[in-house]
């Protein structure tokens, strides 16, 4: 019997997800033993044409990381969707746009203008802008088209499962891999479509060791502005922690290190818009009934949109800033 086939792809991604896969340590050997890895551009040399040549549904499992922000990302997403039995959005970028999704606060033009013309690290005079098609002596060179709006994977193709996290925690990956091997080798039924794997139904607070009390907030600060009590909920100390509105699964690592949760595991099951929900919750516990004071306290939230939507902007209700 042939081995099940595994594809791992990175779209608009930093590569952290691929490294996280390697971080499962010796279990990677189980993966190698069990699967026939047929596509993993980050790790090995594969050609898109090889994939194109495969029959549809010939790849058992595709772990797709990275958001969709270019024509190439979109094309490969479609390709892998067609060739895969199970397509899994792997990591925050694929699941909800992730850090690349923050580009949705700006237009493509503004970004290119800055990156290729205004960035202080550019050599003066070099104002070349990438062009989708360039006629070179060798012929017509085409490069992928950069999109104006960053998309999550599920916005462009049908996704079977989601493994959240930036990156997904290695122990969670190991568990998922073990489960998949178990299902495939023992012929067990797959979980329902759309299931979030490698995470729980609770929020980050569930894994947070800090003691929590009722909350009344008189003002917000950044972590470095104050020596925080290591045993008390950061939110109670005025630090915007996305933990309450973030799915659990990471083991609350950031919070135990004194850094507020940034929300990479995404919205919990029943929450439609992680940022709006966090805003609602946070505003509720502000300790004032005076409109002016409320404004003052809200003013003290550092970069509210960037904070509430750090990972989920591309997947949020409004998707992007209207420009």
């Amino acid at each position: 019997m042939p081995k099940p086939k595994l594809a791992i792809y990175w779209a608009a991604s930093c590569g952290g997800c691929d490294i996280a896969i390697l971080d499962i340590e010796t279990k990677i050997l189980d993966v190698a033993a069990f699967f026939d890895v047929i596509f993993w551009p980050c790790a090995m040399d594969f050609k898109y044409d090889d994939v194109r040549a495969m029959p549809d549904k010939s790849i058992t499992l595709t772990l797709f990381n990275g958001s969709i922000r270019s024509s190439e990302n979109y094309e490969i997403a479609q390709l892998l969707r067609a060739k895969s039995v199970v397509l899994c959005a792997f990591g925050s970028c694929a699941a909800e746009g992730g850090i690349p999704g923050l580009a949705n606060f700006h237009s493509k033009e503004a970004i290119c203008e800055y990156v290729y013309k205004q960035s202080p690290s550019l050599e003066p005079g070099n104002g070349t802008m990438p062009q989708p098609e360039v006629r070179a002596p060798e012929g017509l060179v085409r490069i992928p088209v950069l999109w104006n709006t960053v998309r999550s994977l599920d916005q462009v193709v049908d996704v079977d499962y989601v493994i959240p996290g930036c990156p997904p925690q290695s122990d969670q990956i190991a568990a998922v891999v073990a489960a998949v091997i178990d299902i495939l080798s023992n012929g067990k039924p797959l979980p329902p479509k759309g299931t979030v794997l490698g995470a729980t139904e609770k929020t980050c607070c569930d894994e947070c060791k800090r003691t929590r009390n009722v909350k009344k907030i008189k003002g917000f600060i950044r972590p470095f502005e104050h020596l925080t009590d290591p045993n008390v909920c950061l939110l109670e100390q005025g630090i915007v922690c996305m933990g309450p509105a973030t799915r659990a699964g990471c083991g609350a690592k950031c919070v135990s290190a004194g850094v507020p949760c940034r929300g990479c595991y995404g919205a919990p099951t029943n929450v439609r818009d992680q940022g709006a929900k966090m805003a609602s919750a946070l505003a509720s516990v502000i300790d004032s009934t005076d409109p002016e004071e409320i404004e003052r306290i809200l003013d003290s939230i550092p970069d509210p949109l960037g904070t509430f939507y750090r990972f989920s902007l591309a997947e949020s209700t409004l998707r992007r800033t209207q420009v």
């Binding site: 898109y48 024509s71 190439e72 979109y74 094309e75 606060f105 989708p132 085409r142 992928p144 088209v145 999109w147 104006n148 709006t149 998309r151 916005q155 462009v156 439609r272 818009d273 940022g275 709006a276 929900k277 805003a279 609602s280 946070l282 505003a283 509720s284 502000i286 004032s288 009934t289 409109p291 409320i294 404004e295 809200l298 939230i301 509210p304 949109l305 509430f308 949020s316 209700t317 409004l318 998707r319 992007r320 800033t321 209207q322 420009v323």
Partner: protein
């Protein structure tokens, strides 16, 4: 034909909704642009509702609650009073004019006031024009997708 803005109104059960009811039973006329959603308290209004309304095509959102201190639920409206400014900030960040969201206190006896608020808000939105949100739903044609 002039532009008729679509307004979603979240009205609290005890004051504003009753106020609207009063305006109705008193045969007061106000623009039909407002589509009311009854909530028990303005404190029930989630910023998500507001954003969703805009996404789905509302040109304005009106949130009405009891006057501060008169809340049927003691201080539910205070929570609303704190959430809406933050919602406006999100709107601003998302490129939507915060003026499209209004928070008003209307008591059960203020039918006339309710009528005035709705008329005035409708007129204001009419002046502002329709809210057109772009690139919410994915459309590969718009993105210039092409195969390498």
């Amino acid at each position: 034909m002039s532009f008729e803005p679509k307004i979603i109104g979240f009205l609290c059960n005890w004051c504003s909704y009753t106020g609207a009811d009063l305006a109705g039973t008193a045969r007061m006329k106000y623009p039909a642009n407002l589509m009311s959603i009854r909530v028990m308290c303005s404190g029930r209004v989630d910023p998500g509702f507001v954003l969703d309304a805009f996404r789905r095509g509302a040109d304005g959102v009106l949130v009405c609650g009891c006057h501060p201190g008169d809340c049927h639920y003691v201080d539910g409206n205070h929570k609303c009073m704190r959430r809406m400014p933050l919602t406006r900030r999100i709107m601003k960040g998302m490129g939507i004019d915060p003026a499209r969201l209004r928070l008003e206190w209307v008591s059960a006896s203020e039918g006339a006031r309710f009528r005035e608020i709705v008329s005035e808000f409708t007129e204001q939105l009419r002046r502002m024009g329709p809210l057109e949100l772009k690139e919410i739903e994915f459309d590969p044609a718009l993105e210039g997708a092409h195969h390498a």
